[in-house]
Structures are given as structure tokens and as C-alpha cells.
Amino acid sequence: MAPLLSVIDMTHYFGGLCAVNNFNLAIEPGQIKGLIGPNGAGKTTVFNLITGVYTPTEGTIELMGKNIKGLETHRIAAKGLGRTFQNLALWRHMNVLDHIRLAHYSQLSYGLFGAFFGTPKCREQEEQVIENSYKLLQIFDVKQFATQNIGNLPYGAQRRVEMARAMATNPKVLFLDEPTAGMTPDELIRMIEIIRQVHRDFGVAIFLIEHRMKFVMELCESIQTLVFGEVIAEGPPEEIQNNPEVIEAYLGKEDVH
């Protein structure tokens, strides 16, 4: 059986600069995989290529056996690829509930006419969306903020809203771009629990970029190390931790101290 998400020989050039070279990835249902690498290695570019922000120069990307390369971002997202952003990409004038509501966009079928006249079909679907949104807010422990403007929330809560929003798109694979960036140690531990819970309850596969080794080592089954757009090592956490090349390129500095 083909994996849930498979990326084969993905290469991308920005002008003459090779940003990602021959990147391969296979995610099976329910797996958690990690992507590490020093700053500027091209990790976020890999995310952007797979989620359709850029179209890769070469290679194939398939979700559940169907090609998604070259599709618009929102179509790829609707097919089951949810993501979060490295530097929170929230909508600053919207409240928390509306964030989650909006992520249901592709699941609605009432159309513009329904929205204009508030048809029974529209109202029914909207009510369902609100109900489902509250459920998600509950799971991510941000329900108490539902009617608050997003800007009023503490940083950790904003991160959780962003994840709740990604889950509202009903993804099969969840891409997390540095989910613990800028978090305090307490928030970090909470985040690990939440990711575990999401993984368990929704049965979603997760692909994450992370800088904190403790976090990656604890969560991921398999880790890829990206340096200057190329994967230099791939394997289970223990193996990566002891890989001399990885230590040199990435962990080396930390070992010195």
C-alpha cells in the first residue's frame, strides 16, 4: 500500500539557488516524523513546497496516492494537509471562535446564495460548525477565550489556537512548523502532551520541524536532518543523536558546552 503522504525526489530552485535537493519523505498513517536542521537549512521551504505555497521545480508529491503537486494551497489543505506556522499566522482582528469556524470553510456547501439569505441549510451548517468549533476549543483548552480577540491571549494559548485551527480543517497529515518556538518550559511540556493527545484522539499523522532536541527526541519515531537543502541523515532519534555528521552540522555546538 502506498504511504499516506509520499514525496519523491523533490527539488526546488530559487533562481539559481538550490533550496531543496532530492528530498524524499514517506509518512504512514499515524506516524510522527521530525525534520531538524540548522537555521537556513530549508526546513520551512520543504513545508511550503509540500503544502503548495511554492511549486517544486522537480519531483512528485502524492497524498493518498493522488498527485497534489501544482495544486493551489487551499485545495491541498482541503484534501487533508493541515499546518501551523513558524511565526504564528493568526488573524489579528478576529476572535478565537471565528478562527476555528473559518477553518471549516471547505467543509461547507451552502454557497454564497445561502450566506446572503441565511437559508435553513446555511443556518444548519453554521450551527454544526460552531458546535464542532467549541469541541476543538475544549480539546485545546482555549474554550474560555472563545469570544476574546486573538491578540488578548497569552502566547502559549495563541499557539494552541493555531493548532486547533489546523485541526478544524480535518487534516490527515498535520504539519507543525516549530510548535514550541518561544515557549516557556512549562508551556513546552504542555505542548508535548497536547501533540500526543491530538495524535491519539484524531489518529492524525504528524510531520514537525523543531529546534529543541528534547522535544523531537521525545515525540518522533523517525527524524530527518536537513543541511543546506539536503538530507544528510535519517532514522530513529537515538541513531540521529549519535550520527557524527549530524553532530557536526547541528548538535556539535551544543555538545561543546
Binding site: 503544502t51 505555497v53 487551499h74 489543505a77 499566522a89 473559518l102 439569505f117 489546523a166
Partner: protein, 423 residues
């Protein structure tokens, strides 16, 4: 003191204020002439006496007294004294379906407006133009507020709607110099007028694609320039089309845009735009404004959303244009220039972005202020911009921004404290 005064009045529901307003217009209708005679006013003051006050300052006390006797006292007294009764009525209305209660309130409000405006033709005109300004402001708020693009082409959309609907009514229902005999029975005209306005709106919506499609690739200042270019294209296009009158414009449109017609269109516009902006489809506009890549990643079709915003906003501008042409019964391309643009933009930003409520407040205050300060002539255009600047200093997002219209909350009875307590 002021706080206490407002607390005393806070128990009056909307229905109570409407009854107060009704009493006031009744008094004016039957006793207006008498009261103004005893106050040495030449006739019933047209617009709360502002015109008289500015022209003849010695009549300021009389005009103020007139306002006090005819409007302020009856509204306050009737509103406050009958508050218990009206709260009971409001509670009764609250139990009805929301749409029915809303329609009853709207009908009552229309009744008051009709009687107030019925005193003379100038009032009718002011009320009609104010209501058209409300449609324009809310529809521009869709593009500039909810969708967050700075569009300057609204008078252009309005012109498209005005000319399309004027051409249709003149061609189909009127015997005139430009298009000759009416093609259809003129008696059908008033009934088919909604269709004509709808077509006018559609024409404007199609025209808006010229701005909407570039918006896929560019934003902000660049799109503002494109939209400004569109405005000039429309304006000079019409000026050069001799078949629709060129720079001389079109006149003698049939008198279809009566007060109830304009009122119904305005209510319809507010209702539909409210429905849209509170739905997930409408929230998509906000998401595209605040962070487009994020919206895209959350399955929102950003292109469709942008196109919807532009076409929807332009549609209502077209309808407003059609009504405008049939209210004045004369249009020329000069009307739809930068002056008009500045006026609509001022209403939107004065009232507040991303808010229907704010747009209504903005449109009403700027239109009424514009009429009330008319005797000041040139100074009018110093005072209104000054007010605008002051508002921007103290409330950078406009008077009432980022709020949703909550009809239920507006109409609720006021005798009970809200369950959340507070206040």
C-alpha cells in the same frame, strides 16, 4: 449628573424610543405650524433648525426651543414614562421569531420617517439621499473594511449602476427625447424597477472584475491606484459616449425611487450584508485581510473570496447608483468623481471599519451634517474634514469599528438586567 440621566433612560427599550419618536412627529404634524408661529419662526424648521440658525443667528433660541418642545421633550418623556408598558411589549416581541420582530420595528421606524419627511419635499430628498449613502457606505465597507483593500472605484461602480438602470428605465418605460417611445407599458415600470436595479447592480459587479482580478496579484497602494484608474476609465468612458448623453448626462428618469422603495432596498442591503459578514463565507474576507497565506492554508479559496468581496460590494454600489439616479432624476458623469469618492470614504472611515453599525452611523452623520451645514458654504468643507481628523485622532479605527450588528440585543426589553450582570 449626566451618568444618572443616562441611567434613568437606560430602561427604555427601542420600542419605547420609537413610540417617543412617533409622538414627536405627531406633534410636529399637527402643531408644528402653531409652535413655530409663537416662536417667531418663519416656518417649521426643516432640518432641526440648523439652516435657520446658521442663516439668522438671532433665531437660534427660537429654533432650539422648537427642537426642545417638538422633539426632545416628547421623545424623552414618552419614552421614559411609557417604558414599563413598552418593555412589556418588547418582551412580547422578543418571544416572536426574530424576523417578525425586526419587521415590526422596521415598519414602525418607517412610519415615523414617513411622517417626519412628509412635512416637505426637502426632507424627503435628504432622507432618501441619506439612505442611499448608507447602502454606499456599507458596501464600500465590504471592500475597504472587511476585505481590507483600499478601493477608490466606488463612485465608478455607482456610475455603472446609475447609467445601466437609467438607460433601461428610459428605454423601456419612458417617452423621452433620448430613446423615443417606451418599449413596454409604463404602468409596468414601478413593478419591474427592482429588476432594473438588480441589472444595474450586476453591471457594476461585472465592471468590478477589472479591479478584482488584479487584486489576486497585488495589494495595498498598488491596488488603490488601479481602482482609482478604474474610476477615471468609467468617468471618461461615459463622458465620451454620446448615446447616453455624454458629459451632459441623462435626465427625466421616471420617479420610481419613492421613499418606501429606497427604505426597502436599504433594509434589504443591511440584512443581506449582515448575513454575509457573519457567516463563515464572510469571515473569509477578514482572514484574507489579516493574513492571506494563513487563510489559504486553512482551505479558504482566497481568489474566490476577493472576487466575491469586490463583486458584492460593487453590486450594492450599483444598486445605490440606480436609486440615486432615480431620486435626483438626473445623472451626469461629473457626479461620480473624486468629490463623491472622498464623501463615501469619509463616511466609511468616520463610522468605523468592519462594522455595519458604524457605517450606518457614519453615513447618517456625514450626510445630515453635510445638509445641515449647507448655509456655511465653503466653511462646510473645513468643518466636516476637521471633525473627521478629530475622530481619527481619538478613535483611529473610526467611531464604531469591528463590531457586529446584534439585532436581538438592540430590540431586547430593558427592564431586566442582562444575565451577565455588569453595568
Amino acid at each position: 449628573m449626566i451618568k444618572k440621566f443616562f441611567r434613568i433612560l437606560s430602561v427604555v427599550p427601542l420600542a419605547g424610543w420609537l413610540l417617543g419618536g412617533f409622538t414627536a412627529v405627531l406633534i410636529e404634524y399637527y402643531l408644528g405650524d402653531l409652535i413655530s408661529y409663537y416662536l417667531y419662526l418663519p416656518k417649521v424648521p426643516v432640518l432641526f433648525g440648523t439652516l435657520i440658525m446658521l442663516k439668522e443667528p438671532q433665531l437660534i433660541p427660537s429654533a432650539l426651543a422648537y427642537n426642545l418642545i417638538v422633539y426632545i421633550l416628547p421623545i424623552l418623556l414618552v419614552g421614559r414614562l411609557l417604558a414599563p408598558v413598552m418593555n412589556g411589549l418588547a418582551a412580547l416581541l422578543e418571544k416572536m421569531p426574530l424576523w417578525l420582530a425586526t419587521i415590526i420595528h422596521l415598519a414602525a421606524f418607517y412610519g415615523i420617517l414617513h411622517m417626519w419627511a412628509g412635512i416637505n419635499d426637502y426632507r424627503v430628498l435628504v432622507v432618501k439621499l441619506t439612505m442611499i449613502a448608507i447602502i454606499l457606505t456599507i458596501s464600500l465597507n465590504i471592500i475597504n473594511g472587511y476585505q481590507g483593500e483600499f478601493s477608490c472605484s466606488h463612485p465608478g461602480f455607482m456610475a455603472l449602476g446609475a447609467y445601466a438602470s437609467s438607460t433601461l428605465t428610459l428605454l423601456l418605460f419612458a417617452n423621452d427625447k433620448m430613446f423615443g417611445e417606451a418599449l413596454l407599458n409604463p404602468a409596468l415600470g414601478p413593478w419591474l424597477f427592482p429588476v432594473v436595479l438588480f441589472i444595474g447592480g450586476i453591471v457594476a459587479a461585472l465592471g468590478s472584475l477589472i479591479v478584482a482580478i488584479p487584486s489576486f496579484r497585488t495589494r495595498g497602494d498598488y491596488l488603490a491606484i488601479i481602482s482609482l484608474a478604474f474610476l477615471f476609465i468609467v468617468k471618461s468612458g461615459i463622458e465620451n459616449l454620446e448615446i447616453i448623453g455624454g458629459p451632459r448626462g441623462m435626465s427625466s428618469q421616471p420617479n420610481y425611487a419613492t421613499l418606501p422603495v429606497v427604505f426597502i432596498w436599504m433594509s434589504l442591503c443591511i440584512w443581506i450584508i449582515h448575513n454575509f459578514t457573519t457567516s463563515v463565507m464572510g469571515k473569509a474576507l477578514n482572514a484574507v485581510r489579516d493574513n492571506e497565506p494563513a487563510a489559504n492554508s486553512m482551505t479558504v479559496n482566497t481568489r474566490k473570496t476577493k472576487m466575491t468581496a469586490f463583486m458584492f460590494g460593487a453590486f450594492w454600489a450599483g444598486v445605490a447608483g440606480g436609486l440615486f439616479a432615480h431620486v435626483l432624476r438626473y445623472v451626469n458623469p461629473g457626479t461620480f468623481g473624486l468629490q463623491k469618492l472622498a464623501e463615501i470614504l469619509a463616511m466609511v472611515y468616520f463610522g468605523g471599519l468592519n462594522s455595519i453599525y458604524g457605517s450606518i452611523v457614519g453615513a447618517v452623520s456625514i450626510s445630515v451634517l453635510g445638509e445641515a451645514l449647507r448655509p456655511l458654504q465653503l466653511f462646510k468643507w473645513i468643518i466636516i474634514p476637521l471633525i473627521l481628523i478629530l475622530v481619527m485622532i481619538f478613535r483611529p479605527h473610526g467611531l464604531i469599528s469591528f463590531t457586529e450588528l446584534n439585532v436581538k440585543e438592540v430590540m431586547r426589553p430593558r427592564n431586566k438586567e442582562r444575565s451577565e450582570g455588569g453595568e
